[in-house]
Symmetry: C2
Subunit: 319 residues, 2 copies
Amino acid sequence: MAADGTIGEVGEFGLIERLTQSLAANAHVIVGPGDDTAIVSVPDGRALVTVDILVEGRHFRRDWSTPVDIGRKAAAASLADISAMGGTATSLVVAFAAPADLPAAWAMQCMSGLAEEAALVGASIVGGDISASDSIVISVTALGDLAEAKPVLRSGAKVGDRVALAGRVGWSAAGLAVLSRGFRSPRVLVNAHRFPEPPYAAGPLAAKGGASSMIDVSDGLIADARHVAEASGVVMCLSSTSLEVPEEMRATAAAYNVDPRLWLLTGGEDHALLATFSGKKKLPAGFTEIGVVEAAGEDGPGVVVDGIRDNSRGGHRHF
Amino acid sequence: MAADGTIGEVGEFGLIERLTQSLAANAHVIVGPGDDTAIVSVPDGRALVTVDILVEGRHFRRDWSTPVDIGRKAAAASLADISAMGGTATSLVVAFAAPADLPAAWAMQCMSGLAEEAALVGASIVGGDISASDSIVISVTALGDLAEAKPVLRSGAKVGDRVALAGRVGWSAAGLAVLSRGFRSPRVLVNAHRFPEPPYAAGPLAAKGGASSMIDVSDGLIADARHVAEASGVVMCLSSTSLEVPEEMRATAAAYNVDPRLWLLTGGEDHALLATFSGKKKLPAGFTEIGVVEAAGEDGPGVVVDGIRDNSRGGHRHF
């Protein structure tokens, strides 16, 4: 489809028409884009709902990422939250604000990235809104379905539970370190910063496998383990040696004189899933044991790494 | 609750904690703010979902509106879309981006405005996300419930239907005209620009009353009538004399040498409801007849005002 001109030239309605033409609908979509609201089926009677907002210069840079990458990253942030409750995303609505001189093709490629990422879990884009703004802002709301499962909250970790991780940590942080130094390789790290590869399927598997708590690791492993610890009133004891340093990360860390475990423990935006499991049952596919839940002592709930209490407020800060 | 300092000083998590403390939950909220996602009950099995994005300098100005006003306006845009499908909003999720030097109190008052407006229809704020940005951006997603009703789409207007309007039109445009000239009165017009007063209840009433089509008038009466005309393949014939010029508007229009009907016919952001009804039945409470649906001739679907085809692309443009 044609995409010449800027979004200012194409106009709001022209852009909406072009964007929505390219969208495919899944079986959950009762009414798709183009009316006052979309209508999505929620057979379970409970809708999971979450929103994430990405801002140019804070969450992405146009000179570092393609519009498709940025769309994928924006969708992944919300889709991973749905997985972290044990659900499967069914639909997205997208609010998009951008300068009038943005090429319409950029907006359409970004929308393609959003739709591609959503398609990984079978979700569709069902609606949106567009406005002018000084810099690009993308806000993605995801709806999800629990398929009769019990939601896995942050507050369910119990003393004695095993702590387990699915998906990658530290990759986006390592990629950011590469890009920040003006390099474009190793490509595998740079790509990990451009868009994450969350282990979407591991979320519903964890719910079926009896996970007692779960969280999307978006701020960093320690920071998000602390969210679980505080919600559950426990201490999350992590073993850093259980986190293997990926070969791809090792050489770059050495070259930059960085301890790669810093990336693994504090890097955000990879959207791994951190969960706790009671009993001795085999962990669901994709999960690796990385620690144990202990009782909160006089220091209260918190995180212990390799036996040492972590009192940093590590993790990404938006302000 | 305390709200000293800027949002940069309070920090993302501090701000989230303060904001969520003030939120009340309705019966639809299964899991509220604080986990990876919220969970909202959808007893009907179908969720209405819509998003609107408001950008500082485009949709509001901090020197013209209070943070409460801006929160109300942001919520109203999405809540009115739910009404326009014949539904009732149950919950909102809010993405909020702002400069780090914004007073935390401003953000909290804006959230109060959002919550107050939502409470008008019994909806709660169930989740959100916060980021830093250069200017304030508020993206509000609303979920709504049809309560077994048939959704009222834009595409259902039939030849011979009566066209009817509930709520105010032109008030926000008149208020903007006042503010743009540097005045602060008449206060009733200025307030109408600061936040709308959509006729939320009229939406579900129209659905029960057999409305054949409906739309939220956010771009302007002619512009939104055209959306219905194009979706339904009809001509919407409006009678401008059926729109009474409010007394409050008359003197201001005269002083500014403006035809007040221009405000009534093209002013956006009041979030009136424009609907069509078949047959001769009494219109639902709140609706006034303002025209009739006719067949599209060789000019195709469109809008006729007082017998004259309107070929402007009137209405608010974001780019």
